[in-house]
């Protein structure tokens, strides 16, 4: 294939005259990806933990609501959810509020829509992990807690959750990795994260291979860092006597 390799393209000043190089663009994209994924992950963890616990409580109403939440956010494709948040949501708000939102800085609009979308989508998946963690505990643990005179919420807080959360660290790691990869979907609404900057680099320099390779390497590095971080967490919170624990 006739292709002109040019790795020096990253050090060239950009064609927009804002004295930054294409490498700076990639860094901005990386920052955006990290900022978006981490903030969405924090929300997803908190929401997911709450919803996951609710799915296991002995109250049909509460667990029903939690189940509906999980099924809703888990069964609609991420891309569709993103378009709903970005394009449809502002039209459903009262007109003044919707227009005010649409007139704000587009980056803020895109970031907020993306963050909410990723956070809720991932929270449904986290909720499932939390639920399975809780359900995997022997029923004796809950009964023992209750028999000792703990209330239900105390049993959750002091007996079941400390165990369940430590058991689900490995599956949470893959959800954590997923959120970084899923964040690439947000380039479709114009958010300039890593994948979008890569695409933009192709548009501006007509050097697709260099740019896609750089993006691939950046995602790989990001995920290696996350994975080793989570390995460390896993090793430190391991439950003695369980799989892999001492």
């Amino acid at each position: 294939m006739a292709y002109n390799w040019n790795w020096g393209v990253f050090l060239q000043p950009t064609a927009t005259g804002d004295d930054s190089t294409y490498l700076d663009w990639m860094f901005h994209g990386l920052q955006m990806t990290i900022g978006l994924s981490l903030s969405a992950w924090l929300i997803a963890l908190l929401l997911g933990a709450v919803v996951g616990v609710l799915r296991t409580v002995p109250n049909r109403w509460l667990s029903g609501v939690a189940t509906a939440y999980v099924e809703f956010f888990r069964n609609i494709p991420l891309l569709v959810q993103l378009f709903l948040w970005y394009f449809v949501m502002p039209e459903l708000l009262p007109e003044n509020l919707g227009n005010a939102f649409k007139q704000t800085n587009p980056i803020v609009q895109q970031f907020l829509s993306s963050m909410i979308c990723l956070a809720l989508f991932t929270s449904a998946r986290v909720a499932e992990q939390v639920r399975s963690g809780i359900n995997s505990l022997p029923p004796g643990q809950k009964n023992a807690g209750l028999a000792l005179g703990f209330t239900l919420s105390q049993t959750y807080r002091h007996v079941m959750l400390p165990m369940a959360v430590r058991l689900i660290v490995p599956p949470l790691t893959s959800e954590f990795l997923n959120i970084f990869k899923n964040s690439a979907v947000c380039s479709t609404i114009g958010l300039l994260e890593l994948a979008a900057q890569g695409r933009q680099l192709v548009d501006y320099t007509a050097q697709p291979y260099e740019s896609f390779i750089a993006v691939t390497v950046a995602y790989l590095l990001l995920n290696v860092v996350v994975m080793s971080g989570m390995r460390w967490v896993e090793a430190h919170v391991r439950v003695p006597g369980y799989i892999g624990g001492k």
Partner: protein, 301 residues
């Protein structure tokens, strides 16, 4: 290039060892050979570049550029003396079109692709098929008349286009404090304009008229502003394939100088077109007349 010479060496080697056929008067190479061998050509087209290359309401590809591309295909068929030539259609986007031409997925792409020197490093361009100016579309009552009115406002354009570059450069050089939204395609950019996220949409004027043809109420929109650049649209093909380029260029030149192109122009720009039967009323500019008179493949930048 190494591959090519290797392949040629193999072909020559085989021919000499087998001592079979006499040497062909004109040995086919590159894309022409591929088309002859496979009996098929794969064409790249756009999905929403109205009126150049887009889907009608029956999901058929139609448009000005597409019609010219089919003329070229006829010429290729005649050149190669093929009884039957299968046409494979592949939709491309602003972002992937160059790669798809390079990696061989697409042999020829006629849509709304600007011929510029940057792209010439990766692909080759045919004779220019259209010339556009980059302008603005806005609501009739928005109060936007030209580019300076955009200061401090949200403006949308399509990612990967020359308009995006020009807009960003203008923002930087004139400190206009615009917020620039880069939408995925022309349809989405227009949606951004229509929903009030942006006050104006900067794009190639012909495409803006095309988007207008799709709008719920065409009379709500106007195209305004001094053109910020003029651009030459060309068909894209693989680099370093002079034989194929010559066939494509000759075919286009013939259509243009014979007056056939002007009829095709009238069909897409001066008469009602699908999907809504709107007339773009986009008069033939002198720059387009010039390329019809003397076809050439020069880029404008």
């Amino acid at each position: 290039m190494f591959k090519h010479s290797l392949r040629r060496a193999l072909v020559v080697g085989m021919a000499t060892t087998l001592l079979s056929a006499p040497v062909l008067a004109q040995e086919l190479t590159g894309t022409l050979k591929k088309i002859k061998d496979t009996g098929a050509i794969s064409l790249g087209h756009r999905e929403s570049s109205i009126p150049f290359s887009y889907y009608d309401d029956k999901q058929q590809v139609i448009g000005y550029s597409h019609e010219l591309m089919l003329k070229v295909v006829d010429a290729i068929k005649a050149e190669l003396k093929l009884g039957k030539l299968d046409i494979r259609l592949l939709p491309v986007t602003s972002a992937n079109r160059i790669t798809l031409v390079q990696n061989g997925s697409v042999d020829l792409e006629c849509g709304s692709t600007t011929n510029n020197t940057e792209r010439q490093k990766q692909v080759s361009f045919s004779n220019t098929i259209f010339v556009i100016g980059t302008r603005l579309m806005t609501k009739t009552n928005s109060g936007i008349n030209d580019f300076p009115d955009l200061a401090g406002k949200n403006v949308v354009t399509t990612a990967g286009t020359t308009s995006e570059r020009l807009l960003r450069r203008m923002n930087e050089e004139k400190q206009m404090k615009m917020n620039i939204i880069s939408a995925k395609d022309h349809g989405e950019a227009f949606l951004t304009l229509e929903t009030g996220r942006a006050v104006a949409f900067m794009m190639d004027d012909a495409l803006l008229f095309g988007e207008m043809a799709k709008a719920k109420r065409a009379s709500d929109w106007v195209v305004v502003g001094t053109p910020q650049s003029y651009e030459a649209y060309g068909c894209m093909l693989r680099k370093d394939d002079p034989a194929f380029k010559k066939v494509v260029d000759n075919a286009l030149a013939k259509v243009m100088t014979s007056g056939e192109a002007e009829k095709i122009y009238a069909k897409w720009f001066l008469q009602p077109i699908p999907p809504k039967g709107l007339n773009l009323n986009f008069p033939l500019s002198t720059s387009v007349q010039n390329i019809y008179k003397s076809p050439n493949d020069k880029a404008f930048d």
